[in-house]
Amino acid sequence: MFVDWFDGGRGATRVPAVWHEMNALLEALERPAHVQPPRLEFATTEEALTLRLVAPGVSASDIDVSVTGRRLEVSVTRQAEVPEGWRAVRQERRQWRVQRTLELPFDVHADQAEARLDRGVFTLTLPRVAAAEPVRIPVTELAALTTEQHEEADHG
């Protein structure tokens, strides 16, 4: 169980146990499952299309979303850089990029889209354009219109 002092990269050089302690790397007691890039999840309702991506460590500037007609383009990049002034001892948090272009199943109000980043989870909501319903056009009689115009002229 108490393995995994060096997680590769440093070769198989044998170092005395005391040196390990002095050099003092943190020993992991469990290991994560192979870390895969997250998957984009889609859901549609009567009102909207929702997209969700678990993206810890991603900031707004790492996300690019655009809608052109029914075409949605999404690109999310996660950086995994060694912070300045630090040396990497263990790096499990992977760098990844999720990029998708897809055809939306219905028209959306792109100008009313809501994109949020909350505790490392990105969600995008695209409100659906309501299905076309018949619109009744009122008919104005020419005579009535003429009368109103006369009245307006009188008051003016």
């Binding site: 992991a28 007691l29 469990e30 980043l117 505790r119």
Partner: protein, 97 residues
């Protein structure tokens, strides 16, 4: 708690400087309130809950590291811990006579 928790092992980076270690863990959707960080008998333990999911990870610490030297911050679903190195783990400058 009747609900069963699905436990995950979060991905963690460990960085080192001359004076400290930095532990960075992916904990998406985790709130400050549902996060538990403990140092006990030389083991650093992280535990967090988000609904029916939970995250757990522990590390054996080098001798001399104490819990009161740990600083924690949570942002964008990422936890960053900084542990001050004990004096004996810091590089010593050797004066040349």
């Amino acid at each position: 708690m009747a609900e069963t928790t699905r436990w995950h092992v979060p991905a963690v980076d460990v960085y080192e400087s001359d004076h400290a270690w930095r532990v960075v863990a992916d904990l998406p959707q985790v709130d400050r309130e549902s996060l538990d960080i403990t140092v006990h008998e030389g083991v650093l333990k992280l535990e967090a809950h988000t609904g029916s999911d939970g995250y757990r990870r522990s590390f054996r610490l080098p001798r001399g590291v104490r819990g009161d030297g740990v600083q924690a911050s949570l942002a964008n679903g990422v936890l960053t811990l900084e542990l001050t190195k004990p004096e004996e783990a810091r590089p010593q400058r050797i004066a040349i006579a």
